[in-house]
């Protein structure tokens, strides 16, 4: 279905800014769109599309919606021309509407096309039984499923705290969680394809050094990190080369390695996560694979040491492994990693509506 959205006054030069596209038979229907104060500006040879839109969707499926991802596309190949908006940790029963807000700025080269400037399409929707619908161009099935598994893990944890330690215990845990979210060290990170600077390859050879990874081995991880090294020059690093081996009895088609950097003052930051070298991974039991190369990272702090851990594994049958809450706590990762979307949502619920509302929310699942 194609739904054209008429432009507002700010879009006098372009009669159609946004078009929403869903595949036939999709379990989500568009019931309303609001462009808000979205606007288009020409800047140099490009159009800057400032989107502040809301799309209201209805769950026409038989299960509750747990997460949804929309692909927002102005120009596929242009830098800054492609984005996406995902809403995890939902609990939308069949027949109910829910909003998805698109607050994003995209670029597309001039001249303006005859058609819409931006296409918004469903990339995927995940239901409470972990069934999925959508073209999955952005690997939304894996991403939404991982968020849902994290949500179940963290809800179970907070429910157990409530059961065992009562309301006071839950309150302590939520305060600790909010404190971690506020005080978690954040790092400015820039990522680019290939070498970041004009003369960097030759210069880095003179001034940089190879820094080896230390690895945190989390209990139950299906993969073992073997070796890891990255060429580091001050606050810049090339793609870390990390080798992992599959110690499970199932083939693996995707994994992510969490990358933690330590600055000279001993503070640790999550720099990002690194995917495998190839998108079509088939890592058989006992075999090894490496992480993706060809990126440059500029971090907002001088790099003194680095460590890594297996943060996610997807098996060939589509099932996922994520670290347990206990493993994250034992590995001192809770204060370094961002809270899961569900923990963030629950913390916000506690902050704005109080302990009773939080306990009621946990009781819904």
């Amino acid at each position: 279905m194609w739904l054209g959205v008429a432009a507002g006054t700010a879009l006098a030069q372009s009669p159609q800014l946004l078009e929403f596209r869903t595949a036939p038979g999709a379990p989500l229907a568009v019931v309303g769109t609001d462009l808000g104060d979205s606007r288009v500006q020409n800047r140099g040879g490009a159009m800057v599309l400032d989107l502040h839109a809301t799309v209201t969707l209805r769950n026409n499926g038989a299960q509750s919606v747990r997460g949804v991802t929309l692909l927002v596309l102005a120009q596929e190949m242009s830098p800054g021309g492609k984005g996406s908006v995902a809403v995890p940790s939902l609990n939308v029963p069949p027949g109910r509407n829910f909003p998805v807000k698109i607050n994003l700025r995209l670029l597309r080269p001039l001249p303006a096309p005859a058609g819409p400037l931006v296409e918004v399409g469903l990339d995927g929707v995940l239901f409470s039984d972990l069934s999925f619908f959508g073209p999955n161009r952005l690997e939304s099935r894996r991403v939404l499923t991982a968020w849902e598994l994290e949500a179940r893990r963290d809800r179970e944890y907070f429910k157990a705290v409530l059961d065992q330690q009562g309301a006071e215990g839950l309150q302590r845990e939520m305060l600790a969680s909010l404190s971690r979210q506020q005080s978690r060290p954040r790092l400015d990170v820039q990522v680019s394809r290939g070498p970041n600077r004009a003369i960097s390859a030759a210069v880095n050879a003179l001034t940089g050094k190879n820094v080896s990874f230390a690895f945190l081995k989390l209990p139950g991880a299906p993969l073992d990190p073997l070796t890891g090294v990255a060429h580091v020059s001050a606050d810049e690093a090339g793609s870390p080369h990390i080798e992992v081996t599959n110690r499970s009895d199932r083939p693996v088609r995707y994994f992510e390695v969490g990358w933690i950097v330590k600055d000279a003052g001993g503070r640790e930051y999550l720099a990002g996560t690194i995917p495998p070298e190839t998108a079509a991974l088939d890592l058989r039991p006992g075999k090894t694979a490496a992480t993706l190369q060809g990126r440059s990272y500029k971090l907002g702090s001088e790099i003194a040491a680095m460590s890594g851990f297996i943060s996610q594994v997807e098996f060939a049958d589509g099932s996922l492994w994520i670290p347990s809450r206990k493993a994250l706590g034992e590995g001192s990762l809770l204060g370094i990693l961002p809270a899961s979307p569900e923990e963030q949502r629950l913390g916000e619920l506690y902050r704005t509506k109080g302990l009773q509302a939080l306990a009621e929310e946990l009781g819904k699942f």
Partner: protein
Amino acid sequence: MTTLFLRHPGEDQLALFAGGELGPLARWRIEGHLNGCDACRQTVSEFFEVRSQVMDLGDLPHVDWAACGERIRRDLERARQEPRPAPVWRPAWGAAVAFAVLLVAGVYVARHELTPLGPVLGASAGGVELRVGSGQVLTLVHAADGAPVQRLVVSGAVSARSVDQETGNITVTNVYAQ
């Protein structure tokens, strides 16, 4: 006439052309220009005229070329016999200085901002930013007002996660390098 011949040649070029002193390429260019430019053709013809007048002048006044040549030879001989000061600069030093300059430039490049080769996606306190060239920064995802924002770099994408103050829902906005 093509644009190659549109600009007027300088007078020196026209004079050299008139004297037959130009190379084949320059001569061809000026011939092309003269085909369509009356003014330059006139200038060249004047140079031709002056040249022919000079050639028509009588013999040059008498110069004693032999005595002149002998004087130059003596001066050269004297200069050769005078002691020369020891050279301060040695060729090897040039290579050393060049290497040092390269090294200093290399360290400077490694520690200071230069123009990136391609677009750079970044996550900072301001949100998700796209940098193109040396100074152009475009914020693609603004940090939500008041709400804590989590940012994460995953391969070629940068994501910002925030809580919608109205609905309490989490929204994750991703921007892709390409």
